[in-house]
Every structure is written in C-alpha cells, then in structure tokens.
Assembly symmetry: C2
C-alpha cells in the first residue's frame, strides 16, 4: 500500500513522542473518548502512523499561546515529526490530502508550534493531476529565451492605469528588450481597466512588436476572479494571441485552480500573494517546499518564490530552498516532467544575479524586476541590458564589479541600486 | 464611491502611523522606488487610505522574527489600523478583495505581527454573490427542528468504516432522535467507502426512518474533492433524497466553492479544517470574524466555529465572537438574509449548553457532539435526550444541576463528562 508522508516541526510541553501520537490519533479518529467501532484491525489498517520523532532544541517559552502544559513542566521541546497515512484514506485528492495532513492539527492543544515542512507523495498523484502544461521548456519556447533567465517586470503603479497607459508602458518595455511582463496582483478587471480592453490594448502592442522583431513578449494577464470569469478571461487572452495568464493561487484555491487548469491552454503564472499567512511564522503554517508540490500537481507553470535580499521578511535561505524545490522533480524516473519555473521577485535588480545563479546552479527562472528596470538611470532598455550583463557575468563566474568596468548599464545599476 | 474597509492588528518597531502608511502604500503601488506614471491624481483616486490608527500596548520582544527595526528602537508598538480602498480597485470580487486586503501585507518588513481582524464590505458584494441558499430557516425546515438547536453528531471512527457499518451507526443515531449527522472531514470518497455507496446505504436508512416516523435526519455527506467530482457527488446525494453536502472550505478554496455554490441545490455544511493556520497566532493571519463574511457571501449555509471549552486552543471568547458573527447580518435593511447557522463542535456535550445559549442569546445553531452522544452511558438515544434536556434548561434559565435532578439522561451526562 502506497503511503503519504508528511514532515512537521512541532513545539510542545509534552514528550514529543506523546505529542506525535496525538497528531496521528487526531487525524485518524479524532474524538475525546474511545468510540465504539474503532477496532484494532481498523486502526492497524487506516490509522496515521508515527514514522519518526527527531528531537531538536528545548525552549523556555512557548511560541504560540494557549497550548496545554502538563503539570510541573516548564520546558517546551522542539522536534521534527514524520507521519504517514495509507493513500486509501484520502485517495489521490489534494483537498482531501490537505484535510488529512493539515486539518485540525494546527489547533491541537498539545502544540505551542506546528508547521508542515514537507510532503512526500506517491506517484498516484501524478496520475490524478495533469501537472504543468508549459513549465520551463514551454516558457522558453514561447519567449524565445535560451541560456539565461527570462527577464521580467511588473506594470506599476498597480492601480489606476488605463488600458492605453498600460499599453504605452508595454511598448517601452518591449522596445527595451523585456521577455516577460506581468500585471500586478492588485489589478484584475477593475472598472478603469476591464480585462478585455487591457488585453486588446496590450496585445496590439505586443503583436505589432512581434511582427516587426520576431520577439513576442510574454504578458501574464491577471485573470483572478470567479471560475466562469477566469475561463472567459482566458479565452479573451488566448484569442488575442496572449501567451500567459496569472492568478492569485491562494484566493482562487486548490479545487478552483485545478478546475481551471484542465480547461486552460496557456501557461499559468501562479502568484502566491497572501503567502505570508502560511509561512511568516517559523512555528505555524505550511512551508513553501510542501505547498509548491500541490500547485505543481494542479499544473501551474510559474510560481513566485520572492527573491534574495528582498523587501519582505523571508530569508535568502528560504527563498533558495523554494526556488530549488520548484526545479526538483516530484517523482522518480519514468514520470512526466513536473518542474516549474520559479519567479524571483521583490526588490530584485542586477545585484542579486550572482548569488541567485550560484544557489540555483542554473538559469531556469523568471527574474522579475520592478524599479530595477524602469527606474534604471539609463531607462528601460538600459535596465534590461544591466540584467543581461549581470546574468552573463554570473554564469561565467565573473564578479559583477569587474564585469561592470566595461558594461555601462550594469555599472549604472550598481551605482543606483547597489 | 463605495469603499472597502479592513481592520488589522499590527505589531511594529516603527511608529504605527508610519507602518500603516507602508501598508497602504504596498497595497497601492508596491515597489521600492518611485515609479513613473504614479501621479498625485492617481494616488488620490485609487490609493489605499489610512482611516485610523489606534495605539495599543507596547512590548519588549517582537512576536514574529525577521521584521525590520529602525536604528535605536527597542520597543514594539501594537496598534489597531483601519485601511480603506475604493471598491473600483478590486470590484466586488472576493479573490481580488483578498489580494487587496491580505496580499503581501503579511510579509512586509515593518511588521513583527499583522492580523486581519475584520472587513466591512459595501452592499455591492451582496449583488455579486448569491449568499446562503438555506441558512437558518432552510435548515430548520429540512430538519423539522424549531425552538432549540439542531442536535448533531459526527460519524466516528473517521476512517475505515464501510458504507454498511456507517449506515448501521446512522440507524442507531436516527432511532436515538438525532437531527443532523456529518461525515468526518477525513472521509470523502476513499476506496473502502466510495461516496455513491455510502450515500446509497445511509440514505436507505434515513429515508426509511423518515417514512416510518416523519422525521428526516439531515446527513452532511463530505463531498470534498475536485469541482467536477463535487458536482457529481452533489447529484448523487440529491438524487438519493439527501439534504446536505459538506466540504472542506479552506482546501476547496474561495473560487472553487463559489463555482460549486451556484450549481448546488442543497445546504452546504462548511467545514473549516485547517483553520488553525489562519487564526492560531494572535499576531498573524485572519480572524474568523473577517473570514466568515467571505464564506457567507459565497453562500455556505453552516459554518464551523469550534465550541466552548473545546479540545483545541481556541478561547471561549473567540468561539462566541465567531458564533455571533455568523448570526449578524452583513448589510443593513433591505438586503436579503445572509446569516448562517454556526456549528458548535469539539468536545461538546450537554455541559456547554447554558453558556452557549447565554452568549448567543438564542438557539440558532447546530450543536455537534461526538463522544457526548455515542459515549453517553445510556446509549445514543439517552445522549440525544441529555442534550434536549440541557438546552431546554438553558433556554428556561434553569441551572443544569437543578434540571438534572429529575432528568436522568442529563444527570448521567454530567456524571460522565462533567
């Protein structure tokens, strides 16, 4: 019998082994007294199993309030716990998987901290879900970018621009050599920029530029909304020759996204805004390493992972772990490709290229810069050039400062943003 | 122009006014340098606005790690902040609303704590979403219960029972006088109990019991899954004469649930498992008072709110606030009813009835007891009776102990669970 495995970090005033057993129990029968019908045979077959408890440090204060403390205890143990379930408990169904591995556990009284760190899923899930449709290869093919990251940017300001103003910015960016542009997550279809009008205005510029130059910019239109609306918006984008749609994955949700994906003919740019709720606390929630597996099975093609030296609270270590996770196959040999393109974004400019390249060991990523491109002293084209130069230097192992000596745009970027 | 309002609790080493301005800025243009095109006119029309900053206590340690601290500061301020946005920024669209009020804010460097506490939405949302279809009145009509809570229970163990074993339990519960039964959130359609077979077996018992007695037990079948699957399962339940479907709202997600709701002909029992991620920390996430508004607009009919003196970490105060919120209309006069039935569950038995009644000021709730019914010393029927007795006492203001003197089942319950 295939099993689903889940790895957690816990903090508890109980013995970690006792607390781990409580987790397994809650996710098997889950009531406060023994109930009739729960036989040993049923338990042996279907109960969640504690596979491993690895003790970590002890702390003198609980991280989260309201956890139960056994009498006389004044130390909180931290531990890594691995549980497993037979796949037949939930079937290869992501929402039901999440109810099993992430249901009531976060509220259990034993815990002053509980975070889902990783999931190890059996290949049955790869048969049940379509996975990414375009992923790294399809994105490279559609953008015509090889041997370096797809260089992207975000339309700013995120509010108030008319379709024509947006198209003007796209023209400037396309002429500047950009590969990829995305709507901000704050704009989908507001009255001042209905999606259909924005698509018409933006795609006129992109199609025209593609005809003249052979280079088609990938524009991720934010189609976030209700499912019917998203499907209509998808068709509008597709019919206008668009090559990407974007939505806010956390607020569309797992099942809605899965439904959309099966009807989608374009790459899906997965925006994780709201992610902080899941990952901001080290002792509550779900790590991105676990969560991205769900979204890859559902079949997004790009996933935001923040960026090194970002403007948010996420550590570089966490960002890199997320980026690497996106590029690590979920299953072994003989399964269809399921890696997706990590999107590095948030206060990015040429300066983070070497460290990002070194950590990822490659260039299969979308590198999104906002101010790092449009606020470059030499203008948009110079901003894009500074990024090509930085990634070229990174890939060849040349220090940025050295490369900047005979590359003006990179030098200007370092002077302004460094 | 209608505005959306959101209330947050924040913790920050910055001046709270400065931090609140950063929140508003991030949710308006959101990049790290000034960008071209962001005119004062655009800002005035579309920018998020800080409506209020109310300072609370100061603390000497940050709650969440990695927040930025201005040089020389060693105090963290707590405050309540109210922001507002013009409705045209996101339209009456819940996923886009959430991107606006709950997007990147949780990750902003200014904050060692940030929680969305409440949302005040304009009535435009009531026009865009259908709201609950059955709610309190429909649930009472379908169960035939008036003047007291709908008394419910959960099928346990949650794993391993065959459809026939489940139906046997339902028979016992129906004969015991139960009003409502729900599948556990851990069972949807596993191989050992496919939904269609469980529906067939359970509804045979329920329909037979209804024919004999005139009382039709409402059974919330857990149809959690992908949307196509949920729609098929819905039809199976409806065609068998079932009167309720249940799903794990957090893992189906907002847009998936909204899509399903518009095609659903039965009451929706909204199970919030996984909720701890959002609410377990006092300084991160989303309060239930805010979140339940989304689910009511989408149109679930029942919403889990935990229970007084529960087995989890939630305080009674929080539970009551959640229950009351479900019963408070979202909009003023002239709008269709949108209250839903709160489901009190988790270690509930007769003992919590008086406090629950006193706090809610009424009996419009589903009162779900697991062990409190099936582990009652007198058996299932006595368990149900003990709850009727307790709620009767509560509604008439008679102390439980006094009422128990001449009500054996209540007395037994107090002896075993009290």
């Amino acid at each position: 019998m295939e099993r689903v495995r889940a790895i957690y970090r816990i903090e508890t005033a109980f013995d970690p082994e006792v607390a781990a057993a409580a987790m397994a129990g809650e996710q098997s029968s889950g009531t406060f007294v023994a109930v009739p019908g729960e036989t040993e045979e049923l338990k042996a077959r279907f109960a969640a199993r504690v596979e491993r408890v690895t003790r970590l440090e002890e702390v003198l204060q609980p991280t989260l309030p309201a956890a139960h403390t056994p009498a006389g205890r004044a130390v909180w143990h931290r531990a890594e716990v691995e549980l497993s379930w037979p796949i037949e408990n939930m079937g290869p169904s992501l929402p039901n998987l999440m109810s099993a591995v992430g249901g009531n556990l976060f509220e259990l009284r034993h815990f002053s901290g509980l975070k889902l760190i990783d999931l190890v899923l059996p290949p049955t899930f790869a048969e049940a879900y379509p996975g990414p449709q375009f992923a790294v290869g399809g994105t490279r093919r559609l953008t015509g970018v090889e041997g370096r990251p797809v260089i992207g940017t975000i339309i700013k300001p995120s509010i108030g621009l008319s379709p024509e103003q947006t198209a003007d910015m796209v023209r400037d960016l396309a002429e500047g050599g950009i590969d990829f542009i995305k709507d901000d997550e704050l704009i989908a279809g507001p009255p001042y920029s209905p999606l259909a009008e924005r698509v018409r205005a933006v795609m006129a510029v992109i199609n025209d530029h593609a005809e003249r130059t052979g280079k088609k910019v990938m524009y991720a239109f934010n189609i976030t909304g209700e499912i019917d609306e998203m499907l209509r918006r998808h068709d509008i984008v597709r019919d206008a020759g668009g090559t990407c749609v974007m939505f806010s994955i956390n607020y569309v949700g797992l099942s809605g996204a899965a439904y959309f994906r099966r009807r989608c003919e374009l790459p899906i740019h997965g925006h994780r805004n709201g992610w902080g709720v899941f990952d901001r606390s080290p002792w509550l929630g779900i790590s991105f390493v676990a969560y991205q597996k769900l979204w890859r099975l559902i079949g997004v093609d790009h996933l935001h992972v923040c960026g090194i030296r970002n403007k948010f609270c996420e550590s570089d270590e966490s960002v890199i772990a997320s980026g690497k996770a996106c590029l690590t196959p979920l299953f072994g040999e003989g399964h269809r490709p399921d890696t997706v393109m990590p999107v590095f974004s948030s206060a990015q400019w040429a300066g983070q290229a070497p460290d990002t390249f070194a950590a990822l060991g490659g260039t299969d990523l979308i590198y999104c810069c906002g101010g790092g491109i449009v606020a470059h002293p030499g203008g948009t084209a110079a901003g894009v050039k500074s990024l090509h130069q930085a990634w070229d230097a990174a890939a060849r192992g040349v220090p940025l400062e050295e490369h900047a000596r005979d590359h003006k745009e990179l030098r200007q970027a370092i002077e302004k943003f460094g």
